[in-house]
């Protein structure tokens, strides 16, 4: 009975959010690229013209550094956070920094990519697979193809020490029963040199310094469409994904506008916008952009953000042991 009442109250509250005239200032911290962030904000404002959106864009690392400094000084500024990965969100959730949004409608989404307590919500799938140079001798289709002798010395990969997406990829791949840490040891023997973030790896391969590497999907898929000599493949074992989650801070000044923003990102319109920007939408019913395979053919590797957060230090220590940092 009590549960029913809570559910009913939540429904009423959700209804109120939509009915009420939402206005005021909304502060958004995001790690989306500039143009995408601008488009997202514009589309949201078209729906809620009374809301004035102030947004700051930076890499996830800088956004989090800024936010941590604001926490330390006791004056966090943003209402909404839209960053790359769920592990960071999980960490904020544990510190009690996130506000639950029980009214959010996630019924159509895969529960594996949503927080069960409704404090953060995945908005798209930025998968990590294999990118290779168009002139490369091997055309990899499986992770194991990167252990072939002709690949030796031609591997690039983003480092988990600097990239959240790379950390999640490492955790997902090393938890796979057929790959495990032995696979990463194999990569080290192949002379893989994990360096920096995805942007650096993309440039190394597009520029022909290296021929193969782990890479987020949209850079090579967009680059290929522009004529760059690059290819991207979703390996048969599956891909890992950072899901660009959105969350409302517990200290939000304007929770109503923040909830409306989350609802917009999860709505059909918000998801169609993500696809139009060249990303794989999280919503299963929204068609992926050109250059991507059909949604149901993309296999995701298993991943649990809470476990990844627990094992973060140990995983990175293991990685450093194998690759020497």
């Amino acid at each position: 009975m009590k549960k029913l009442l809570i559910a009913a109250a939540a429904l009423v509250a959700a209804g109120q959010v939509h009915a009420a005239d939402i206005s005021g200032k909304l502060v958004l911290y995001t790690s989306q690229p500039n143009e995408d962030a601008q488009q997202t904000v514009d589309a949201f404002k078209a729906k809620h013209p009374a809301v004035e959106v102030e947004w700051v864009r930076d890499g996830t690392t800088q956004v989090m550094a800024k936010l941590r400094a604001e926490f330390e000084a006791g004056a966090p500024k943003p209402d909404v956070l839209l960053i790359a990965d769920t592990v960071t969100m999980e960490s904020l959730k544990r510190e009690g920094r996130l506000m639950a949004h029980d009214g959010a409608d996630v019924s159509t989404y895969d529960p594996a990519i949503m927080d069960k307590d409704k404090t953060y919500f995945s908005t798209k799938l930025i998968t990590t697979g294999i990118m290779y140079h168009a002139d490369a001798p091997v055309k990899p289709t499986s992770y194991k193809d990167l252990l072939k002798p002709e690949v030796k010395g031609q591997l690039a990969m983003p480092s988990p020490l600097t990239s959240g997406a790379a950390t999640i990829h490492m955790v997902a791949v090393t938890s796979h029963p057929d790959l495990g840490w032995a696979y990463y040891e194999g990569l080290a023997e192949q002379g893989a040199n994990p360096q920096g973030g995805n942007g650096g790896v993309y440039k190394a391969i597009a520029g022909g310094e290296k021929l193969y590497g782990f890479m987020v999907d949209y850079l090579p898929i967009r680059g290929k469409a522009d004529g760059a000599p690059v290819e991207f493949v979703f390996p048969e074992e599956g891909v890992s994904a950072v899901t660009e989650p959105v969350a409302i801070l517990s200290t939000a000044q304007n929770p109503d506008a923040a909830k409306a923003f989350v609802d917009f990102l999860l709505s059909q319109d918000g998801q169609t916008l993500a696809a139009a920007q060249g990303y794989l939408p999280a919503h299963p019913a929204v068609a992926p952009p050109a250059g991507f395979p059909a949604r149901d053919t993309i296999k995701l590797l298993d991943f649990d953000p809470a476990a990844a957060l627990e094992g973060d230090a140990a995983n990175k220590a293991k990685f450093t042991e194998i690759f020497g940092g």
Binding site: E35, Q62, M64, A65, A73, G199, G325
Partner: protein, 565 residues
């Protein structure tokens, strides 16, 4: 000692101001790293020093810093002597080109060199000289890192030494030559010993700048597996979890300690090397090189071409292709990237306006502070000198700690509303301005302090005997004498702040973008070609700014504008 007539007050204001801008933000940050459960503790620091990765990074930071500072001092001094003491032609354009590498943000320099020497180098590809694909990149090594740091900081040393040469009394060189000293003997016995304080100042500045340089350390150091402290900081920032800030703060304490040690050594040496001279800025010496002049000129211009043309051309070529990795041909050339950054993105012009305004304001403020602080630092031994040294030490540490960390420190210090006025600077342009003044004060102060060190104390005594008060002594005697050094310092500050990216990295907000953060955001979002287009525009704009400064040359004391004779 009587401290009446404003002298004590001036000193107090200067020291308090510098402490507020440099010391307080850093102290707040260090506090985060050196407390455990609210209790002060050295535990985290001991723990950090015990870890192998921190020790390695510490050593590699010191090593790359010393090597690059040494190389930059050698190179900068040779260039300054060639331009300052000989009769090579086209000095204006030459100095101009020698200073240009400084105007380019370090991460852009790194990107340009990576592209210039790699398999996809648009220049080498067009010439058919590009290395085979998949070959490893020569620049990803300790030597590559040191070479780029050297190129980045050579102009710093060059400017400081050149400003010193300007104040060099002609009489000494003339006397040496009348006595029959050959140019090299004069250099060894007269010129270089007298330049020692400036060489030391240049070396210290280059070392401290290398310590805190983030762009080159990250873009070259990470692929080379040559981890330095700034990269270690970045890694700690990128980890998940709540203990990010304390971890970052501990590494910052280490960096600050290295910087302080370097500064202490510099101060000790500077005391021993002091030689007092009095000289007005005057016509530069021009030793006739005779038939060797062509050789010297060729050497100088070759250096310019090697350091500017190759990365510059790479940058331009990248800005002109549709997507990164394509060769530059008639089919792939496009001006779309320039159109995008100049017309479609409103942020570009706003960033130009913002950066120009706050860099100019910061440079002016720093020049004024330096003229006051430098006086106490060099000419007033005892308590005033010690107080000034404490302020200048804080400025040095603020410059040595990487900008990204300083921007965290400034958030901690200035996020709350200011007392008395009740407004918060956070989220406005003003916080970036005060951060620039705090972080770059060392750059502007170094040349001025070196200039004061060479002044004869008899100037001060004579003025006092004649009854000139403090304000009058400063404005009528010392300010004109140190003006060239202060102006060189201010120009250095302007050009450094104009393109910097790390200090404003966490302080900018929508509407308050800076040039550096805009370029970094393009690059970070994967739009390499847009970043290259914007960088190209910035370099051109910098050239325009420098040419505009030429227009001021007639109205300011001789030697103020570094590339004018």
């Amino acid at each position: 000692m009587n401290h009446a007539n404003g002298e004590g007050l001036t000193l107090a204001v200067l020291v308090v101001l510098v402490t507020l801008l440099c010391g307080v933000p850093m102290a707040l940050l260090f506090k985060v790293g050196l407390t455990v459960n609210g209790e002060p503790s050295l535990g985290p620091l001991v723990e950090a020093v015990a870890s192998r990765s921190v020790r390695t990074a510490l050593w590699q930071s010191v090593e790359s810093g010393l090597l690059s500072a040494l190389a930059a001092t050698l190179l900068g001094t040779v260039l300054a002597l060639a331009v300052g003491l000989t009769d090579v032609r086209l000095k204006g354009p030459l100095v101009f080109c020698l200073l240009l590498p400084m105007m380019i943000p370090p991460h852009v320099t790194a990107i340009a060199w990576i592209q210039a020497l790699g398999p996809s180098s648009p220049v080498l590809k067009t010439l058919g000289l590009a290395p085979a694909i998949g070959s490893s990149h020569p620049i990803y090594s300790r030597e590559g890192l040191v070479a780029l740091l050297t190129l980045q900081h050579t102009p710093l040393v060059f400017l400081i030494v050149r400003a010193a040469l300007r104040r060099f009394p002609r009489e000494l060189s003339d006397a040496a030559r009348i006595c029959g000293a050959a140019p090299f003997a004069m250099l060894r016995r007269v010129t270089l010993p007298l330049l020692a304080p400036s060489l030391l100042a240049g070396f210290a500045l280059a070392f401290v700048a290398a310590l805190g340089n983030f762009g080159i350390n990250a873009l070259i150091g990470i692929p080379a597996r040559y981890t330095t402290l700034p990269v270690l900081l970045w890694r700690r920032l990128a980890s998940f979890g709540p203990d990010v800030l304390p971890n970052v703060a501990v590494v910052s304490v280490l960096l600050a300690a290295v910087a302080l040690a370097a500064i202490a050594v510099q101060m000790l040496l500077q005391r021993r090397l002091r030689t007092a001279l009095v000289g007005l800025p005057q016509a530069p010496l021009a030793i006739a090189l005779g038939h060797r002049r062509l050789v010297a000129e060729a050497g100088l211009w070759l250096f310019v071409v090697a350091t500017l043309a190759l990365p510059g051309a790479s940058l331009l070529a990248t800005a002109l292709v549709r997507t990164y990795g394509l060769p530059l041909t008639g089919d792939t050339i496009t001006f779309a990237n320039f159109a995008e950054v100049l017309w479609r993105q409103s942020v570009t012009l706003r960033a130009f306006a913002n950066s120009t305004a706050i860099a100019a304001l910061a440079a002016a403020a720093i020049a004024l502070i330096s003229i006051g602080l430098g006086y106490f630092l060099a000419l007033r031994p005892g308590t005033p000198g010690r107080l000034a040294a404490i302020a200048s030490g804080q400025a040095d540490v603020a410059f040595a700690v990487p900008g990204l960390v300083m921007s965290i420190a400034f958030i901690l210090a200035f996020i709350r509303p200011l007392p008395l006025v009740g407004v918060s600077l956070y989220g406005t342009l003003w916080i970036i301005l005060i951060a620039y003044v705090g972080v770059f004060l060392a750059v502007g102060l170094k040349p001025v302090a070196a200039a004061y060190v060479q002044m004869d104390a008899s100037l001060e005594d004579a003025a006092r005997v004649c009854g000139a008060g403090f304000a009058r002594r400063l404005s009528r005697i010392f300010a004109p004498l140190v003006a060239p050094a202060a102006a060189s310092g201010a120009i250095l500050v302007f050009l450094t702040a104009y393109n910097e990216v790390t200090v404003s990295a966490l302080l900018w907000s929508s509407g308050n973008e800076t040039i550096g953060t805009t370029i970094f955001n393009y690059e970070d979002g994967g739009s390499t070609t847009l970043a290259a287009a914007m960088s190209t525009v910035v370099v051109l704009a910098t050239v325009v700014v420098m040419v505009a400064m030429n227009g001021l040359a007639r109205r300011v004391p001789a030697g103020t504008i570094p590339w004018r004779d």
